[in-house]
């Protein structure tokens, strides 16, 4: 059963995905495309974002890298030794998505999609309304544990800085929305549904097993 809130959220996410493709001047991959890989690089570029992969991403490395690229010191709250899977730093002119290179490719793509979701759904409206910085730290997740538990692990930490220097933390619901955006972007229902119907009877309907089979199928196309 879906609620009005869910429907409204689904619509906003679908609209954000459409906008991402429109701004990048490309179309979503279709069911007949030989490669169904979602072109994340182009989608980021369409938003004025850029991404950078780091051999070991901690809060300290993220702050050092951004301070080198920008003409001011970027300070990131929290323990500088905390390991991150991703970090988004954006203002009204553009932004960076930093990713931990040690993560598996699927995880890195998910991280980038998650941060793109935050940017489109949460950062852009707030930056347009006058906030000056939107950042989000995505803590490292134990992949093995998260697959076994079928959980996403700890949520990210959104911070907004307004012009009067007030610091605000993002709403808890934003994490759910960014996760849903990433899932809908990377695994569009119109592509996955036919595959799920094809493999469901053979693989069973346990989510992790089906997901792994779909990933393998996806890898066939990518290779």
């Amino acid at each position: 059963m879906t609620t009005t809130g869910q429907t409204e959220r689904d619509q906003r996410i679908a609209e954000a995905i459409r906008r991402a493709y429109d701004d990048a001047d490309i179309s979503p991959p279709g069911i007949l495309d030989p490669s169904r890989i979602v072109p994340l690089q182009k989608l980021l570029a369409g938003q004025g974002l850029t991404h950078s992969e780091h051999p070991s991403l901690r809060r300290r490395e993220a702050a050092t890298y951004l301070s080198r690229e920008l003409p001011y010191e970027v300070e990131i709250d929290g323990n500088p030794e905390d390991e991150l899977s991703g970090y988004l730093f954006a203002n009204s002119f553009g932004g960076w998505v930093l990713v931990d290179r040690r993560d598996p490719i699927a995880r890195r793509r998910y991280t980038v999609a998650h941060e793109l979701g935050h940017f489109l759904l949460h950062a852009q409206p707030r930056l347009a309304a006058g906030d000056i910085v939107f950042s989000e730290a995505q803590p490292k997740v134990d992949e093995a544990a998260s697959v076994d538990n079928e959980a996403f692990g700890p949520g990210g930490e959104v911070q907004l800085v307004s012009r009067d220097a007030a610091l605000e933390h993002g709403a808890v619901a934003w994490e759910t929305e960014a996760n849903q955006f990433a899932a809908a972007l990377l695994m569009p229902a119109d592509l996955c549904q036919p595959l799920a119907e094809q493999y469901g009877p053979r693989c069973g309907h346990r989510r992790a097993v089906l997901a792994k089979r779909l990933v393998l199928r996806h890898a066939d196309y990518a290779g």
Binding site: A45, Q47, I132, V133, V161, L167
Partner: protein
């Protein structure tokens, strides 16, 4: 490059480094300038000169220029925050982005391919202002407006550099917000108490 030309290039660099050190001792700014100009097109020489600078600074027990600049910027932001409340400059231009790429190339951080380097040189000094979102659409517009031919890799590098320069436009507001966050609010009692001793770092 053959071993002979390698050796000759290295000998030329060694001679330039020696001239640079002697010129520093003699405060001969013309020679310093000439050697730095050579380094603009020779990333290896630029690296050697940076090592010389670092060694001389260490020998004199001085902070590096980068550290000094950082201290000055921090003190200015701390004591004159209102001076940075608005963007200090207009939007970056195509020429500004090309200059950043040129500097990264000269420093050996991210060398450009020969064809892309000449394309970048064409863009140096171009005053076309970048005001929109630093997207691929923007780089296509720049390519069309300037007629410059370069690889896709170059235009992505151009876009990334444009992201950094455009984001820097908010530097004033961001620094001001950071300074406000760091500055503790004064209470009547604390305002009348004597000021804390100055930090040794700030005095250096």
């Amino acid at each position: 490059m053959t071993p002979d030309t390698n050796a000759s290039a290295q000998a030329r660099r060694d001679a330039s480094v020696e001239r640079y050190i002697l010129a520093l001792d003699a405060a001969d700014f013309e020679t310093i300038s000439a050697v730095l100009a050579e380094a603009m097109t020779d990333p290896t020489l630029a690296q050697l000169l940076q090592e010389v600078d670092a060694a001389l600074h260490a020998e004199a027990d001085l902070p590096t220029p980068r550290e000094q600049a950082k201290t000055v910027r921090r003190l200015l932001r701390q004591h004159l925050p209102s001076a940075f409340a608005e963007p200090e400059t207009g939007p970056p231009t195509v020429g500004d982005v090309a200059a950043r790429l040129q500097a990264e190339h000269a420093a050996g951080r991210q060398p450009l391919l020969a064809g892309d380097l000449s394309a970048n040189t064409e863009l140096l000094g171009n005053r076309f202002e970048l005001t929109g979102r630093p997207s691929q659409r923007m780089t296509r517009q720049v390519a069309e407006a300037t007629g410059v031919q370069a690889s896709d890799h170059y235009w992505e590098r151009f876009r990334r550099a444009a992201v950094a320069l455009l984001m820097a436009r908010d530097a004033g507001a961001i620094q001001l917000a950071a300074a406000r966050r760091r500055t503790p609010k004064r209470t009547p009692n604390r305002a009348s108490s004597p000021p804390p001793p100055p930090s040794p770092v700030e005095e250096s």
